[in-house]
């Protein structure tokens, strides 16, 4: 008789190790009212800035004797669509309080350090404020099975999007080549988003959840042509496809 049962895997589960990218919140004060106010000021107008992202609370900047109301902090953060899962740093008392509130200890969670920028000879003028996130720019062709998501921004693709590929953006999508895959603009509900391409042959186009497949052929005046797609009438509305009028370059030499 063979004794092969010892190593038999359970049928209902399997334990595997996994990694997760986290957002880190460096907590500089235990004053939750102040924190709530500043969070509201910073992100209040962007209710969808976070998308239920897991978060680690970094207690390192906090004075060791500060008492944090973790239950209230978790509730506050959850209201901003982030999900605190762990703390790192802090005094033993603070860590104990965090654990009491159901948070894990994650000492290994290291914030990403930006890679050092090569030193330039000419001093570069520092930008006055953090530059707004520009469009996500893709230079390479997107082939079947590949997917790009421009989160919270526009997407510009300089090469073809092949059948079976997906381009998704929270803002608008520009494709300066044939668009033959799926294009999903306004993925988080922005009804003002548009899809622009030099050659419209998509499998599917969608703006703010209003979609159209190519099952029914697209109108001949836009199929395979430079086209703009926009949403008319909000989420209950319909997609409007218009041929792009590419204006000729202005004649040179005019006064």
């Amino acid at each position: 008789m063979t004794v092969a049962l010892a190593g038999r895997a359970p049928a209902t589960f399997e334990i595997k190790s996994a990694n997760l990218p986290l957002v880190a919140l460096l907590l500089k004060s235990a004053d939750l009212r102040g924190l709530a106010g500043e969070l509201q000021a910073r992100y209040g107008e962007l209710p969808e800035f976070f998308d239920h992202d897991p978060l680690v609370i970094d207690l390192a900047p906090l004075p060791g004797d500060a008492e944090v109301d973790f239950a209230a902090l978790v509730k506050l953060l959850r209201n901003h669509r982030v999900i605190p899962v762990a703390v790192r740093g802090g005094s033993p008392a603070q860590q104990a309080a965090a654990r009491e509130a159901g948070l894990a200890l994650a000492e290994e969670a290291q914030p990403l350090r930006p890679t050092p920028v090569p030193v330039r000879e000419q001093p570069v003028e520092a930008p006055a404020a953090a530059a707004p996130l520009g469009a996500l720019l893709i230079d390479k062709p997107l082939r079947s099975g590949q997917q790009v998501y421009a989160r919270g921004r526009d997407l510009v693709v300089m090469a073809m999007v092949n059948p079976g590929a997906e381009v998704i953006a929270d803002g608008s999508i520009h494709v300066y080549a044939p668009l033959r895959g799926k294009a999903i603009a306004g993925a988080r509900g922005n009804t003002e988003a548009r899809i622009l391409t030099l050659c419209l042959e998509p499998e599917l186009i969608s703006i703010a959840g209003v979609y159209r497949t190519s099952d029914a052929a697209l109108p001949p005046e836009v199929l395979g042509k430079p086209t703009q797609v926009r949403l008319e009438g909000g989420v209950e509305g319909r997609l409007v496809m218009e041929p792009l009028e590419l204006a000729p370059a202005p004649a040179r030499g005019k006064p």
Binding site: L142, Q146, N162, G164
Partner: protein, 271 residues
């Protein structure tokens, strides 16, 4: 330095193994020391196409797992002196392949003085296919003139440019070649097949050759003889052109224009 070439497609049944056998044989006939490896562990076929199935004692998996040396496992081809075959195991599955083992075998083959290492990829996009492409310097993407094959090739091209060692280490990308097999210009004319232009419009990589649809291929595989050896046939000529172009010689594309059928042939059928 040995060049590693993966013959891949995503889709099954398009002619990867046929191509691997004829391409490797062609390189050997041109005087280059070549080895062809079957990565299709569990569904090995290359040895049949090469006609060496009765001489397989040790295989690729045995070498990876240290149960045999490369010298024991390499089978000398009966047609070309410069060609060796490394067969796949029929009793194992793809999980028997691992990156370290494959890398070690490829390195050892290079040290043995092989100039070209041709990796015959299995179909699909799982471990076997990933292992076959991982260390490649160049890729022959085998495509049939039909939409599903073209889409699968497109997927494979995406993986070649993102999942392979050259892509991960940010080195010069894998050199990609498009090889269209089972092409029938007359059926393209009748709208039954995609044309060369249709395929290239989607895939957009350089075309290295077109192998015409032919009964010769079936005949060759049943005989256990790579099609390139069947002298005077279209398929043999087409594969020789492919090897020539691969080695840097300029050759005009053949077998791409429809042939007018004569009156008698039309009357009595084309067979």
């Amino acid at each position: 330095m040995a060049r590693i070439i993966v013959v891949t497609s995503g889709k099954g049944g398009v002619g990867k193994t046929t191509t691997s056998a004829s391409f490797a044989s062609g390189l050997a006939l041109a005087g280059h020391r070549t080895v062809v490896i079957d990565f299709d562990v569990g569904l090995r076929n290359l040895d049949l196409i090469m006609g060496c199935e009765r001489r397989v004692v040790y295989d690729f998996v045995n070498v990876i797992q240290g149960e045999a040396t490369l010298n024991q496992a390499l089978i000398k081809d009966k047609n070309c002196e410069n060609l060796s075959v490394l067969a796949a195991s029929q009793t194992r599955d793809k999980e028997a392949l691992n990156k370290d083992g494959v890398e070690r075998v490829l390195k050892e083959l290079a040290e043995m003085g092989f100039e070209y290492i041709v990796c015959d990829s299995p179909a699909g996009i799982e471990t076997g296919a990933l292992m076959a492409m991982h260390f490649a310097d160049e890729a022959l993407v085998v495509t049939n003139p039909e939409v599903s094959s073209v889409r699968d090739s497109d997927r494979i091209l995406g993986m070649l440019s993102s999942k392979t060692r050259r892509a991960i280490e940010g080195k010069e990308p894998i050199k990609e070649h498009l090889l269209i097999t089972r092409y029938n210009p007359n059926r393209v004319d009748q709208g039954q097949m995609l044309s060369l232009e249709d395929i290239q419009d989607i895939l957009r990589i350089p075309l290295i050759g077109v192998v015409p649809e032919s009964e010769t291929v079936l005949q060759a595989s049943n005989q256990g003889m790579p099609a390139v050896h069947l002298k005077g046939t279209d398929v043999s000529e087409a594969y020789k052109d492919v090897v020539d172009r691969f080695l840097g010689n300029d050759k005009p594309m053949r077998f791409v224009d429809p042939q007018k059928q004569g009156f008698l042939k039309r009357l009595f059928g084309s067979r």
